[in-house]
């Protein structure tokens, strides 16, 4: 008799636990769904051809688009990736493949510290280093974003390379292949998907950064004019347009937000496809 009661009690506990899990899931989904719903609902009517081919409107001008911000964001992200990816990649290789050097402990420690520094502080650092000499510019912004990328790429590369079995490295070394070639042709090649994932995740991370952009190039409403000049930016579009009193500007802010979400979503999907859902 008591055994049967005990069994019922277990069923009840199971129900309670299941209820709590579903409740948490719902609570976690509410903000995501409502943000997506709100953004999509408010931006669908502004997204048309004009939105993609026109640049920011002036005061009083009707319509307008965000083409200049798309251009600026792509330039900034590409430049940041060009600076940040090789440094992050090579640091990750160093930490994983040359860990016998004492220096790797120091590099790993500072890389962890760097990943914890608020992005505005990195922006101020770029300001002091670059903006003060050449002015507000896309190169300063890309530099700041690259610094944000580096520790992310370093860490994910290190983790990705450590998963590659030691036996593959030994197989190559025993064939008389120099160590650096083993690292490139065997280790990096085996881990290329996970390494690419890390790079994509870091790009997703910097795509929506606004604080370091604000202090390194500020808001810019025109097209690209050179690496020593600012460019427009989607995240800052959201900030500046949303604060404005003009209806069409506010609509553009929602549109920019929607595009940013789409960009990050696209990167996440690419990561999923690359890793078949492991991250």
């Amino acid at each position: 008799m008591s055994k049967i009661n005990c069994y019922k009690f277990r069923i009840i506990k199971d129900y309670i636990a299941r209820f709590l899990v579903y409740l948490s899931l719902t609570l976690a989904l509410i903000p995501i769904i409502s943000i997506l719903y709100e953004v999509v609902q408010r931006s669908v009517f502004v997204i048309n051809l004009d939105f993609f081919i026109n640049s920011a409107p002036t005061v009083g001008e009707k319509g307008g688009g965000i083409a200049n911000a798309i251009q600026g964001t792509l330039i900034t992200i590409s430049l940041a990736s060009i600076i940040g990816t090789p440094i992050g990649l090579m640091s990750g290789v160093f930490l994983s493949e040359y860990s016998e050097y004492k220096l790797s402990l120091i590099v790993r420690f500072f890389s962890d510290v760097l990943s914890g520094i608020p992005s505005i502080v990195i922006g101020v650092f770029a300001y002091a280093l670059i903006v003060r000499s050449i002015g507000f510019s896309v190169i300063a912004a890309a530099f700041a974003l690259a610094i944000i990328m580096i520790p992310i790429i370093t860490r994910t590369t290190e983790e990705a390379l450590k998963i590659v079995p030691l036996s593959l490295r030994e197989a190559a070394i025993a064939l008389g292949v120099p160590r650096w070639k083993t690292v490139i042709a065997i280790v990096l090649r085996s881990a290329r998907k996970a390494v690419t994932t890390g790079i994509l995740l870091s790009i997703a991370r910097i795509a929506g950064e606004s604080a370091p952009i604000l202090v390194t190039m500020g808001y810019w409403r025109w097209w690209f004019e050179g690496l020593d000049r600012p460019v427009a930016n989607l995240a800052l579009n959201v900030f500046v347009f949303a604060m404005s009193p003009f209806e069409n500007w506010i609509a553009l802010a929602w549109g920019s937000a929607f595009l940013l979400i789409l960009l990050v979503l696209w990167i996440s999907i690419a990561v999923r496809v690359l890793t078949k859902g492991r991250y």
């Binding site: 036996s167 030994e170 197989a171 070394i173 025993a174 064939l175 008389g176 292949v177 070639k181």
Partner: protein, 252 residues
């Protein structure tokens, strides 16, 4: 015939733990030498000292001389990369490169060292696979992944890969221990065939295997070389009490 290897006062350490103690022996050319002994006696470390793989492990250290064709491979001016091209190695577990095809696995050693010519590679791949008794089984699927083969085939693929860079010596570290008896028999036949042109050193904890395939046998115990001689003599008439006890299964 001059010995291929002359090992003089070889000591090896992992950090502070000494795993090889004062080994002195000569390894004959174009013969199969088997290293036997209980687990942890230093067999694997010993053959990893012969192609300078031991030092690739962090914390590993070596002292003494290993003369290969009369040249000490631990001399200052010697490049370990060149040594490893002359002295190939096959590992305990088959380790083909999983992202490469069968063809690319065999060609890997040459390709990674800069050989691009397709004709040369074709010839080497075919010759190496034939040498490893694998050609007939894979000749129609050279573009399949190396990981698609069975364990025994993978191990012969690794042998072909090692042979492709034209070494003079093949070191085999318990290369049959992960295989079934039929795959093992194929590799043993292969070892005998290769011994006509190559110097082969195998590590095994299978005494019957040592008796079957080797010309010379060395018995290691606790990092020391206890007895070394022609396989027939070691198995039929061991001079040392420890060797006899090990061979009769009193410990191991």
């Amino acid at each position: 015939m001059a010995p291929k290897f002359e090992i003089e006062d070889l000591n090896a350490w992992f950090n502070s733990k000494q795993v090889l103690k004062n080994i002195n022996m000569k390894i004959e050319e174009k013969a199969v030498t088997a290293i036997i002994g209980p687990s942890g006696c230093g067999k694997t470390t010993f053959i990893r000292c012969l192609n300078r793989m031991h030092e690739a492990t962090p914390g590993a250290r070596v002292s003494g001389k290993v003369l290969f064709n009369g040249v000490n491979i631990y001399d200052n001016g010697v490049d370990p990369v060149m040594i490893r091209r002359k002295i190939g190695m096959v590992f305990q577990k088959p380790n083909p490169f999983p992202m490469m095809s069968i063809y690319d696995n065999v060609a890997a050693g040459l390709k990674l060292n800069g050989v691009r010519d397709k004709k040369t590679l074709d010839v080497v791949v075919r010759r190496s696979l034939e040498l490893a008794n694998l050609w007939d089984e894979v000749k129609y699927e050279l573009n399949n992944s190396g990981a698609s083969l069975s364990g025994g085939q993978q191990q012969r693929l690794c042998i072909a890969r090692a042979l492709a860079v034209e070494p003079e010596v093949l070191l085999m570290d318990e290369s049959c221990s992960a295989l079934d008896p039929i795959a093992t028999a194929k590799i043993e036949i292969l070892i005998r065939k290769l011994a006509e042109n190559y110097t082969i050193v195998i590590v095994t904890h299978n005494m019957q295997q040592a008796a079957r395939v080797s010309d010379y046998t060395a018995f290691l115990y606790l990092g020391k070389l206890i007895e070394y001689g022609p396989t027939k003599q070691i198995f039929e008439n061991p001079k040392h009490e420890l060797t006899e006890k090990y061979l009769t299964g009193e410990f191991g």
